[in-house]
């Protein structure tokens, strides 16, 4: 009996050890290594040999208008894309939560983008938005409206990127909201209906408050994903035109993997990491459940 009790004391460790060890080794140690790397330069010395430069990389980051600009663009982008995607995902979830004939088919179709990789999405949409040959301009012309430059003009490029990533993002996040909506007990909705609340009233004053925790979760996850958005920029716009889609991760990629300056790239990523954590903290505080 005593033996068994002793064994039980180690049970939590047994259950936790694999996950915690793996997280520390493969998630946290690289973060620390990244911060450390930001204090060195290796772009100017022999292979692998590094030189300690203190905070020089950070100073360089703050002095460079291109890096600085990429932070500003990312900030504006985040402030637009996150509420937009969360809002549209909520509406889409409400739409596919309607109990009408054939809804299962639509739900299945809406699930498809979730499974498609960013590479394929980027190829398809990059072409669809081509100024001369794109499908979208073809439709616009058919409607008798003037052609749009989309990815070719600084005033539309970032919006086009937002549209492309929302093609995947909105259906994806709406899955979470759909799960939440289906979890709301029908008694609550029934009593609202008896009180004479319309669908809009019910959505705003009954459903939204009940979804608060999911909204917080989705908003935070979406924020993290979009702060580190890279693939569509790399594959479609390469930061242009006129740096209008030059997001931080793309600048970090350029510094690290094109120019070969891992130190500066690490400094940019370290700053980004701090910004992300700060942003998420604010979102948590704002959306904290009130008792």
């Amino acid at each position: 009996m005593l033996n068994k009790l002793r064994l039980e004391r180690w049970t939590p460790a047994f259950f936790l050890a694999p996950a915690i060890i793996l997280l520390i080794v493969f998630r946290y140690i690289p973060i620390v290594l990244g911060f450390e790397e930001a204090l060195y330069t290796n772009s100017l010395s022999l292979a692998g040999a590094r030189k300690f430069v203190g905070l020089n990389n950070f100073i360089a980051v703050f002095e460079d208008p291109v890096v600085w600009g990429s932070f500003k663009t990312t900030m504006v982008f985040s402030l637009v894309v996150n509420p937009l995607q969360v809002g549209l995902a909520l509406l889409l979830a409400e739409l596919i939560n309607q109990r009408v004939p054939g809804i299962a088919v639509f739900r299945a179709i809406y699930l498809v983008p979730v499974a498609i990789s960013m590479n394929v999405t980027a190829i398809a949409w990059g072409l669809a938005l081509d100024p001369n040959y794109g499908l979208i301009n073809g439709i616009i012309r058919t409607l008798g409206l003037p052609r749009q430059p989309f990815l070719q003009h600084p005033s539309q490029a970032l919006w086009s990127i937002i549209g492309i990533i929302s093609w995947i993002g909105v259906p994806y996040w709406s899955l979470f909201f759909l799960a939440g909506l289906q979890g709301i007990s029908s008694d609550v909705l029934e009593s609202a209906r008896v009180d004479g609340a319309g669908s809009l009233r019910t959505f705003i004053s009954i459903k939204l408050p009940l979804l608060r925790r999911i909204i917080a979760f989705v908003l935070v996850s979406d924020t993290v994903v979009n702060f580190t958005l890279f693939a569509p920029i790399y594959l479609i716009t390469r930061g242009g035109p006129q740096l209008s889609t030059h997001l931080v991760m793309y600048e970090a990629y350029r510094r690290g993997l094109v120019y070969g300056d891992i130190g500066i790239a690490s400094a940019i990523i370290s700053v980004l990491l701090i910004v992300v954590v700060a942003f998420v903290a604010v979102e948590f505080i704002v959306l904290r459940p009130r008792h």
Binding site: F15, A19, L22, I123, N132, F230
Partner: protein, 288 residues
Amino acid sequence: MNRDHTTLLRLRKARRYILLYVLLIAIAIAIILPISWIVASSFTTRETVWKNVLPFSWRAFFPADFTLDGYHAIFEKDFGRALLNTFFLGAVTVVFGIAVGAMSGFAFARLQFRAKNFLFALVIFSFMIPGDLTIIPSFVLVRDLGWLGTWQGLIVPGLANGIIIFLFRQFFAEIPQDLIDAPRVDGATWLQVFMRIILPVSKPALISAGVILFLGQWNNFFWPLLVAPDPELRVVQVAVSIIGVEQQVSLWEQMFASSTLAMLVPVLLILPFQRYYVGGILGSGLKG
């Protein structure tokens, strides 16, 4: 008077239905169009693949001249190997990833121990920091472990996943206490409770976790490219990026054929599990 009222209600309802279906269909088209273009293009020849696209016409959504050339060509280039590799990678990741995630999720949901809040914060914080941010130090770490060009280099770093742990914790937390108390009183160990009681009732969570882990591996591109560019270990997304271009020229029919297969597999996987996938997230206790 009463009949008028009913007609009005019915009219209103019909209008609502029409509006609803117009919306549903419009969104469905926006989702299907780009995909059907890729699929249709995969069945054309290289010479005709752009004929209906320059400029774009509705014909682009149907193969201009049906052929399987693209598919034949990619399987000659060992695309089958890449598919198998990725299935293997996905399967192993799912099995071990679920084991690691479910065990720790169980501990967080049901066991008492010191530093629980701190350790759980460690889990939560880990998925606030996407792996992309630390890809270079991760590469150096894996290299120093001697894992470049190996299966474990592709698998092990992704096994512990904060979202999976979180999902299991939330799901397990809602399992009724009675289910656990009975065998505990009978002297079952926690491991026995976990294997015999918890896992069998957690199908939705297991499936959700499995789908998330598998999709993650399937759509993974940069990490496998970095850790294992060897042809023997080539995965689907890397194969797609290589097969599409040769001699500085795009082999369109092959690019589209490989893209089609690369997206078909996860779609086929996710559709039958749709109910569970949503159910698993639902069970994650985020509701209300």
